[in-house]
Point group: C2
Chain length 235, copies 2
């Protein structure tokens, strides 16, 4: 039976980290809000009670719903065998995945530093200051960390020759940063050869390549997490 | 053998969510940086390589290190039996715990909206705007969500009569919000009776009460996540 994925239908956003792993692992899923619209997502989320997702994305399997990107991916990896298959390594992958989630939250906060409930246009000055901090301090700190995580097993993937959810997520993260900060990422580009090799290896996986060339894959845009506002970028 | 907990020694911060569960479950741990200082924490973190923690808190068991509050707590709950002991329920607890982590990150961003690398004094104007958004929109949205999660099993805890890491974390979260936003939380107080009952039940656990009365427990202060800046509070 196919999983139901619920996420906003017009952006890659956080949902894309889940989609990429589902596609890479050839797992059947229905992208419900892309079939039925954003109103159906809001209705589904509001109809849930008790222990339930706080926000999209969430994945539904029968009566069971699971939310948060890192949590969904760890669960899928365990069920579908694209983790390490060894508890301490799988737990280390989750630590990495949660750090990716933290960086994604910081990326969103760059263009919405005052609050997600306000328009970007109402917080542009604060965003410009936040972007300078993020470009200078945070991007190198996070990318150095991921570069380091790719060293012990020889690459191209974190676990070595087999991909995991961390690798597909690193591709999306780096592509998003390149979309949002093309100048800054060009400056930093050469510093992270293992990360570059990992992204190329993920992009070269047949199922990932087919997915990214399909109309199932939504392009980055200015409604999403990674937004290209030229005024927020700089070398 | 006792675990090593590594976290900043002068604030409750994110470490406190881990400490509370360790104390409630009577698990032996050494709070390393409180014994050896913040420099020892920095040195320990910098000496780690490969798949490693990005930031404190992290918990060390022999050669294995695990980071991120929700991840540490899920792992401890599984090992020491303070989760549900049933996979779907345990996964739902993790969804809740990750939502607590998201709220904690938003709390920090209220007083540091431009960036964690700048002083509060250099971002006070943006912080005042962020605080208004957070008080009005985010606190009620998150607290309503947790109130709802406490309903299905009849309380006082999320699972019913037995505490889990989510309950100890809800106490710390609510206490932190009361410290940071005393006026706002007084206004909202009556709206969440299940959350209030949960907090009282956790605070009434003998080991939690003994810990909070001890000098092992660090008081909230203006170096931490939850900071009382009166200018950020309002009814």
């Amino acid at each position: 039976m196919a999983y139901d994925l619920w996420y906003w239908p017009n952006i890659p956003g956080r949902g894309e980290f889940v989609r990429l792993a589902l596609e890479a692992a050839d797992i059947a899923y229905r992208d419900r809000a892309r079939e039925e619209g954003a109103d159906a997502l809001v209705a589904d989320l509001q109809a849930r009670r008790g222990l339930r997702p706080f926000a999209p994305p969430y994945l539904v399997d029968g009566d069971f719903a699971i939310a948060h990107v890192a949590h969904i991916l760890a669960w899928l990896a365990d069920r579908h065998g694209f983790g390490a298959g060894d508890l301490p390594r799988d737990l280390e992958l989750i630590t990495l995945q949660l750090t990716i989630s933290d960086m994604v939250a910081e990326v969103h906060a760059v263009h919405h530093p005052i609050g997600a409930g306000l328009y970007y246009e109402d917080q542009k000055e604060a965003a410009a200051r936040a972007a300078a901090q993020f470009r200078e301090e945070r991007i190198p700190k996070f990318l150095h960390y991921f570069e380091d995580a790719l060293a012990p097993n020889g690459g191209p993937f974190v676990l070595g020759s087999g991909w995991s959810h961390v690798d597909t997520s690193l591709l999306q993260l780096v592509e998003g940063l390149r979309y949002m900060f093309p100048q800054r990422m060009e400056t930093l580009g050469e510093r992270y050869p293992r990360l570059q090799a990992c992204c190329e290896a993920v992009a070269g996986l047949a199922r990932v390549a087919a997915y990214r060339a399909s109309d199932r894959c939504i392009a980055f845009n200015e409604e999403g997490i990674f937004r290209h506002y030229p005024e927020l970028d700089s070398r």
